[in-house]
């Protein structure tokens, strides 16, 4: 079989099997097995088992259950409810205020963790019920969380950025700092969009409160900020002051959430056990998918499926910006089905020599890279975060809701990508300032 045929078969097979309604973890895993046995050799199936062993001991992925547990405990402590009520008091007169608040909380989450599944699922647990309860359009709510929840890839700390820097052999520090401004730009775009929808399409967002809330009530509501702020300070502080690694900081966050729940007298065995059950449900769902995805990328590479795409780019003989555009398209395409670390190991060794040859800045390219992988993460039909968020949806909402909601945010990411591509200074300015050279 030619590499092109393999490429077509692997992606075609994926689409077909997904439509049968088989859980995505088994679609990925089952297809990996099928392709290994038919196109490689049966001995190579051992790779799947070994990928599982590796996933089992990933310290970075351990952050996923910890952040979900934190979110789950907070949700049951009433702290989040209060937080959203305070937001309502302060921003109730701003249409879409809660969605905007959710973007802000996502940015804060992004500064805590670099693991995608953690932030999106945690926000699915925390913010989604509050927004749905207040009659936000489910598509807008899930789109906001999926898009803003993946900002953690850009905003440090970020596992993906570190792997990029190491593979590209450039400064980890510079690369991490470079993500801050683009991350802020994307967040600003999301907020602007939410405001636009709120005022242009009434019905998607609940009407703004008409009455003016007395200042006293507003100020009293600020008390509800104390506990969330305390937890944020515990997590970010422990990372910033070298007290804990980002994964350990997640455990600090769980303890913080438990303290908050205790202060609210909601730290009951019942609440803790429900939180633990919810956490395992979300984590097992994400991690079984991760196993399938890792197997899929291994088989994809081992069979030479990647060679076709990479060779195609290598042989392109067009304007440098066209080459860049094609690279981004390939990344979005790969990003929809492959796990993010796999894509980096696959593409960076091929792309970077070309990027250097064309005279582009590697840090700048790295940021475009991270944005593109974010897009792959949320792009229908396969983007993984779409499935993660679906896991937290109430039963009556299906995948179509998630798909509908994500499209505008995907387009906003395209816009963000174009902005960063057109003005490299936005990306390179901060790292130069902070690290020098």
């Amino acid at each position: 079989m030619t590499p092109t045929a393999i490429l077509v078969t692997m992606f075609g097979g994926l689409t077909l099997f997904m439509l049968t309604g088989l859980p995505i973890a088994f679609v990925l895993g089952g297809l990996s097995l099928l392709f290994t046995v038919t196109l490689w050799n049966a001995d190579a199936v051992v790779i799947l088992a070994l990928q599982i062993f590796d996933t089992m001991r990933s310290e970075a992925l351990l952050g996923i259950p910890l952040y979900i547990l934190m979110a789950s405990i907070l949700q049951r402590s009433g702290v989040i409810e209060d937080l959203y009520r305070a937001m309502e008091l302060w921003f109730g007169r701003v249409r879409g205020g809660l969605a905007i608040g959710t973007v802000v909380i996502c940015v804060i989450m992004a500064a805590m963790t670099g693991v995608v599944g953690a932030a999106v699922t945690a926000m699915g647990v925390l913010a989604l019920p509050e927004m749905l309860r207040r009659r936000y359009d489910p598509g807008l709510a899930t789109g906001t969380i999926c898009a803003a929840g993946t900002l953690g890839i850009l905003i440090p700390p970020s596992v993906l950025t570190i792997v990029y820097a190491v593979t590209a052999q450039i400064s980890i520090g510079k690369m991490l700092i470079a993500g801050i401004v683009p991350g802020a730009i994307l967040a600003a775009l999301y907020i602007a969009y939410i405001l636009a929808v709120s005022y242009l399409k009434p019905g998607k967002v609940p009407a703004a409160a008409v009455e003016r809330v007395p200042l006293g009530a507003k100020l009293r509501s600020l008390r509800s900020l104390v506990l969330p702020a305390l937890i944020i300070v515990m997590i970010l502080g422990s990372i910033f002051f070298g007290v804990a690694t980002p994964t350990e900081a997640a455990a600090v966050g769980v303890v913080g959430a438990m303290i908050a729940a205790a202060l609210r007298r909601r730290l009951t065995i019942d609440n803790l056990s429900t939180a633990a059950v919810e956490t395992l449900k979300a984590t097992a769902m994400i991690l079984w998918i991760t196993i399938g995805a890792k197997a899929y990328v291994a088989i994809f590479t081992g069979l030479g499926g990647a060679d076709t795409l990479m060779g195609f780019i290598r042989d392109l003989n067009v304007h440098p910006y066209m080459v860049l555009a094609v690279m981004m398209l390939v990344l979005i395409f790969l990003g929809t089905v492959l796990d993010e670390i796999g894509i980096i190991l696959l593409t960076v060794p091929v792309f970077l020599p070309i990027v250097r040859l064309l005279g582009f800045d590697e840090v700048w390219f790295g940021v475009l890279y991270a944005i593109t992988i974010q897009m792959g993460y949320i792009s229908p039909p396969f983007g993984y975060t779409l499935f993660y968020i679906k896991g937290t949806l109430p039963k009556h909402l299906g995948m179509d809701t998630v798909y509908r909601g994500i499209v505008p945010f995907f387009l906003l990411q395209v816009l963000g990508l174009l902005i960063c591509a057109a003005f490299p200074g936005l990306v390179t300015w901060l790292p130069r300032l902070m690290v020098g050279g």
Partner: protein, 316 residues
């Protein structure tokens, strides 16, 4: 004659300098066999993470790997000593001599033989640095400091007073930056420079006594290896020995350039006093013995190395 096609994965990331030497290895094997022995090369993580390759080669998913024996020292204790020995041989030539002149290769073959694998040959090269946030002048300086080390080095450094913090490689930069740890082992001088360690740690101990010399190795599935013609087997051995010297010499030059780069960024480079290192080696030896788990082959490997070290005057 039939052509043979193999798949091989290495422990290096794609596009890095050592991976280019693996490309050279593969090319050389093809050259030496008139193109009849083709090896398709993959980099770390493309098929599997480097530390999972062992069972994949055993199972026949791919026929050979470029690996670091220490990954499997938890299964086969002898492999602790065929990759890097903390406070071990200070010169790569000494370490390589142990492999080629003192039966080291045969011992490594026995070790891998237990798992149905065939050890082809090592690639031996020099030291890796320690990066520190505080000045280190002597071993006693790191007493009570928090250091990131892995494998046998974590045991040895622990025995020498370091509070060892096990961290994944990806965390080293940030952990040094934020002061979570005081000093660390990571990769070689050049790779660490590229990763920006000069920005976060202003002192370097080079050579790093935790990893004075290093051997990575070519290992094949034994059944696949035995099916090879004598010509193909010879090609593997020849290409491996060539790459060993070539990579070592490349690193030697690259280290020199990297040191200039570090100095330009205001990083201090320190070498420890050999007498101090000699004393440290005595303590390290106790940890070496523990690492054999009293297993016969591991003990044999260690005894053989210790005997050579005594001859060289490295141990009393």
């Amino acid at each position: 004659q039939d052509t043979v096609s193999w798949r091989m994965q290495s422990l290096w990331d794609g596009g890095t300098t050592p991976q280019k030497f693996e490309e050279r290895f593969v090319k050389r094997v093809a050259e030496l066999t008139g193109g009849r022995f083709k090896i398709e090369l993959f980099s770390a993580g493309q098929i599997l993470p480097a530390n999972q390759m062992f069972d994949a080669v055993r199972g026949g998913a791919f026929q050979m790997m470029k690996t670091f024996d220490g990954y499997e020292a938890g299964k086969i204790p002898a492999l602790a000593f065929t990759s890097t020995v903390p406070f071990g041989f200070p010169e790569s030539d000494q370490y390589e001599a142990w492999f080629y002149e003192l039966g080291g290769i045969d011992l490594a073959r026995q070790a891998y033989g237990q798992a149905g694998l065939f050890y082809i040959a090592p690639t031996v090269y020099g030291p890796e640095p320690m990066h520190s946030k505080f000045p280190i002048r002597k071993i006693a300086d790191w007493n009570g400091k928090k250091g990131r080390f892995v494998g046998l080095a974590s045991t040895v450094m622990g025995a020498l007073g370091v509070s060892v913090v096990p961290l994944p490689t990806g965390e080293v930069y940030s952990a040094l930056d934020k002061g979570l740890i005081d000093f660390a082992d990571r990769g070689d001088l050049t790779a660490n420079f590229e990763a920006g360690l000069a920005e976060v740690a202003k002192h370097i101990v080079m050579p790093g006594v935790h990893q004075p010399t290093t051997a990575t190795s070519y290992v094949a599935n034994r059944a696949a290896y035995e099916k090879l013609s004598a010509e193909n087997k010879a090609a593997l051995a020849v290409a491996a020995r060539e790459v060993s010297a070539a990579l070592r010499q490349h690193i030697l030059v690259a280290d020199g350039k990297a040191i200039e780069g570090y100095k330009a960024k205001g990083v201090e480079i320190v070498s420890l006093d050999p007498a101090d290192v000699q004393q440290g080696r005595v303590k390290a030896r106790e940890a070496w013995v523990t690492a054999t788990k009293n297993e016969a082959l591991a003990t044999k490997v260690l005894d053989s190395q210790v005997a050579f070290m005594k001859q060289l005057g490295l141990l009393a």
